[in-house]
């Protein structure tokens, strides 16, 4: 049997414009039968606190000027929410979402504080081990 194809993503940013590509890349991986491991850290992890995914509104400062117009366009064209896209990818494929232990400890958060999509809280060492099995690792 061929070795499983894998993609890793480190999600550091918690703004909508970064969370969209995370969800869409994960979907693309699912289409290609690629396992995905997402390591949420810092702002990226905070966006996955319970109830938070649907509340996140912030856009990267670099694009703040265009944020309103972009969000209006996406709403008008009925682009699905990034979190729904991610949940769909997880439902259809081999997608795993991990929380960064360092961030969780720093913020005093436990697994119960996060959305159920997060499977576990892992250390960076374990994530790097996963990344060693993947052909690419993205930092978002």
């Amino acid at each position: 049997m061929a070795e499983q194809k894998r993609l890793c993503m480190v999600v550091f940013d918690g703004t909508v414009d970064k969370l969209y590509p995370v969800a869409i890349m994960a979907s693309g991986a699912v289409m290609n039968d690629v396992r995905v491991d997402i390591f949420l850290t810092f702002w990226g992890l905070l966006a996955f606190r319970k109830g938070e995914p649907y509340k996140v509104q912030a856009i990267s400062q670099d694009y703040a000027q265009q944020a309103g117009a972009m969000m209006a366009l996406m709403q008008e064209k009925k682009v699905p929410h990034w979190y729904d896209t991610l949940l769909q990818a997880k439902e259809l494929g081999d997608v795993h979402v991990h929380a960064c232990a360092m961030t969780a400890d720093l913020m005093g958060l436990t697994k119960e504080d996060f959305e159920p999509v997060i499977e576990d809280i892992i250390g960076v060492g374990e994530f790097i081990e996963m990344s060693q099995q993947a052909s690419s690792t993205l930092f978002i």
């Binding site: 869409i24 979907s27 289409m31 064209k77 009925k78 682009v79 990818a89 259809l92």
Partner: protein
């Protein structure tokens, strides 16, 4: 709806963006029976390239694309 090939099930994913139509198709194929044909209506430009590629990789049969005014009807048969 214009004349087209008869299918077991048709999914209207028009207006849905990449990766929407492809993901809808994967979901439909999962729940279909072997031998079923599924058509996806898509306005997304990526679908008619992505879906044949996916079918080949997934071992499903890509039947064809029918092009209509403003959208494509992409047909796949579940063979396993």
């Amino acid at each position: 709806m214009a004349e087209g090939m008869q299918v077991t099930r048709e999914i209207d994913a028009r207006g849905s963006f990449c990766p929407g139509p492809m993901m809808e198709l994967i979901r439909a194929i999962r729940s279909a029976s072997v031998g079923d044909t599924i058509a996806v209506l898509s306005t997304d430009q990526g679908s008619k390239r992505d879906i044949p590629n996916w079918a080949q990789k997934a071992g499903q049969e890509f039947v064809g694309v029918e092009e209509y005014e403003g959208y494509d009807r992409i047909i796949v048969r579940k063979v396993k």
